[in-house]
């Protein structure tokens, strides 16, 4: 009985050691919670250029100096885009007249059913909410614009007499025919409904803009559209509608746009920043090590294990946390007080297998070609799939962009395609 009690006490103690560590390492934890707990390590320079300020500082400076600037942040899944947006928002909050609206569109609208104008509508509703929260009763025209905007955004129920509804199709007297013009506009004209929403949004924002307030819209979630053409549709309508309104926009864009031949990102946006995988040699990356150390990794693992976790994360920040967390779980289940080499290796293999899933012969061939010959045809659809899925990572070092197989995947990839 005494032995049981002792072993239970030991187990209890170890749980108290591991549990807080696991909580700090949750790769899908709320970024705001992490920031409030001071667990975020901001980069100290632009990931592509050590001589430039970090992305959040560059974005904040541009927003403060040039109202109405439109900026895009592009990077792979798990590269830390949302964190950079949040850091930007925090820097911008240093001025009392700054109104920063941070929206992840998935929280407000179904990204499968997103229509042009929906981004403007979301921003308009949020702006109104901020005005109300400031405890100032908005002027009548603002309230009226908000009422109309809500109807447009959320829809309304109208009663149509049956006799008006029946035979509606037959009463159409004209057929819509598009007559192409002589000019092919660089960016298409705004649709009627987008113009309407834009006018309402401007009415809501007018009391703030008249007082020279600095309004910055930080829009997250559009990168999850994956396909560049879907993103482009919103940029050409909703974001274009915001041009000239003095409202600044910072939007997260899909990684594939960075490699789009049309150069849309660079042509459309005033400032574009790219977050490549965190370091050309993640094993040596001080930034990655700092992230783990800030979350208490050295309490549970030695520097050698910490370096392995950094290296095999490939520099993908979410994978860095996943690996450290997974290694800790293996160690806990192995009844160990510290994370050892074998636990880190088990975690690396498990992550690698996750990336192995769904790979067909053409994918494996492409990966092999990259690993052996350093060839990666980015125009090829298979290559793009691998990049989007993070099985291949993009790096930037000494002015040169290059690709590599995710190191955890490389570890478990069969030798023959």
């Amino acid at each position: 009985m005494e032995i049981d009690l002792r072993s239970n006490t030991a187990a209890f103690d170890r749980r108290q050691v591991y549990r807080p560590f696991l909580e700090r390492l949750n790769p899908i934890a709320s970024i705001r919670d992490l920031a409030d707990r001071d667990l975020i390590v901001p980069r100290d320079h632009d990931p592509r250029d050590a001589a430039q300020p970090p992305i959040h500082a560059a974005f904040a400076d541009a927003a403060e100096l040039n109202r109405g600037t439109q900026m895009a942040l592009v990077g792979g899944i798990g590269s830390g885009k949302t964190t950079e947006l949040l850091l930007t928002q925090r820097v911008l909050s240093r001025h009392s007249d700054a109104l920063n609206i941070f929206v992840d569109l998935a929280n407000y609208t179904d990204l499968n059913e997103l229509h042009t104008g929906a981004i403007l509508a979301t921003v308009g509703l949020q702006l109104y909410w901020h005005l109300k929260k400031a405890k100032k009763e908005p002027p009548e025209e603002v309230t009226s614009a908000h009422t109309k905007l809500r109807e447009l955004a959320l829809g309304k129920t109208v009663l149509v007499p049956v006799e008006h509804w029946q035979g509606y199709e037959e009463r159409e007297e004209a057929v819509r025919v598009e007559v192409p013009g002589l000019m092919r506009l660089r960016f298409p004209a705004l649709r009627r409904e987008v113009r309407e929403v834009k006018d309402l949004l401007q009415s809501i924002a007018s009391p703030l803009l008249e007082n020279d307030a600095q309004i910055t819209l930080l829009i997250d979630g559009l990168d999850r559209l994956i396909r560049p053409e879907r993103f482009r549709e919103y940029a050409e309508q909703d974001l274009q509608a915001l041009r000239g309104t003095k409202m600044t926009v910072i939007v997260v864009a899909p990684l594939l746009l960075w490699y789009d031949k049309s150069r849309f990102l660079l042509d459309y946006f005033d400032l574009v920043k790219h977050i490549p995988a965190a370091a050309a040699d993640p094993g040596d990356s001080a930034f990655l090590r700092q992230i783990l150390e800030r979350r208490g990794a050295l309490e549970l693992m030695d520097r050698a294990e910490l370096t392995s976790v950094a290296k095999y994360s490939g520099g993908v920040l979410r994978d860095l946390l996943t690996l450290a967390r997974s290694a800790a779980e293996y160690a806990y289940r192995d009844d160990q007080d510290r994370i050892g080499r074998k636990h880190v290796w088990a975690a690396i293999k498990q992550l690698g297998k996750r990336y192995l899933a769904g790979l067909g012969t053409s994918h494996r061939f492409c990966l092999r070609r990259l690993a052996v010959n350093k060839e990666f045809p980015i125009e090829d659809s298979t290559a793009r799939e691998l990049l989007v899925n993070r099985q291949v990572l993009e790096y930037f070092s000494r002015g040169r962009e290059f690709f590599a197989v995710h190191p955890a995947l490389a570890k478990v990839l069969p030798k023959r395609p």
Binding site: A29, I77, N107, N112, I226, R318, T322, A357, G358
Partner: protein
């Protein structure tokens, strides 16, 4: 077939209990197609015994891709939602992928699928794949001969 780390319903729920309710997590559980019903029943029983409440269990074919918020709304203090991907539904997987923040905010989400559907879901859902807490092979408890003590 990829040999992900293996678990049982008992061990999985113990893991959820150890993580605590403040830890959102999304697991993809892979099992033999013939064992899906048994695994689902075992998970429901373990959630009831170890966590003390009823599991919210849905078949993927019951979930409307355009109404994900209904499927993942939290009705309890500590929600655990199990969605069985009972057949290949590309629209649903696409929707889960794009609206992944709804899942990560729910609490604990368990996606249960056969090997084939799990691989297709991982390939079709890059955002989902990146945010999964883990991918585990799950077998009914008796297959492992798990001691319950």
């Amino acid at each position: 077939m990829i040999d992900f780390a293996a678990t049982t319903p008992f061990r999985l729920v113990r893991r959820l209990a150890a993580a605590g309710q403040g830890a959102p997590s999304v697991y993809l559980l892979v099992c033999e197609a013939a064992a899906v019903d048994a695994v689902r029943a075992d998970i429901a029983a373990e959630v009831e015994v170890q966590l003390g409440f009823n599991l919210r269990s849905l078949a993927a074919s019951q979930v409307q891709p355009e109404r994900l918020e209904d499927a993942f709304k939290s009705e309890t203090v500590w929600p655990v939602v199990l969605v069985t991907l009972d057949r290949w539904l590309p629209r649903l997987v696409d929707s889960l992928d794009r609206n992944i923040v709804l899942l990560t905010r729910t609490g604990m989400v368990l996606l249960l699928a056969s090997h084939e559907i799990a691989e297709r879901a991982l390939a079709a859902g890059p955002n989902l794949r990146n945010r999964l807490t883990d991918v585990l092979l799950i077998k009914p408890d008796e297959a492992f001969g798990d001691a319950r003590a």
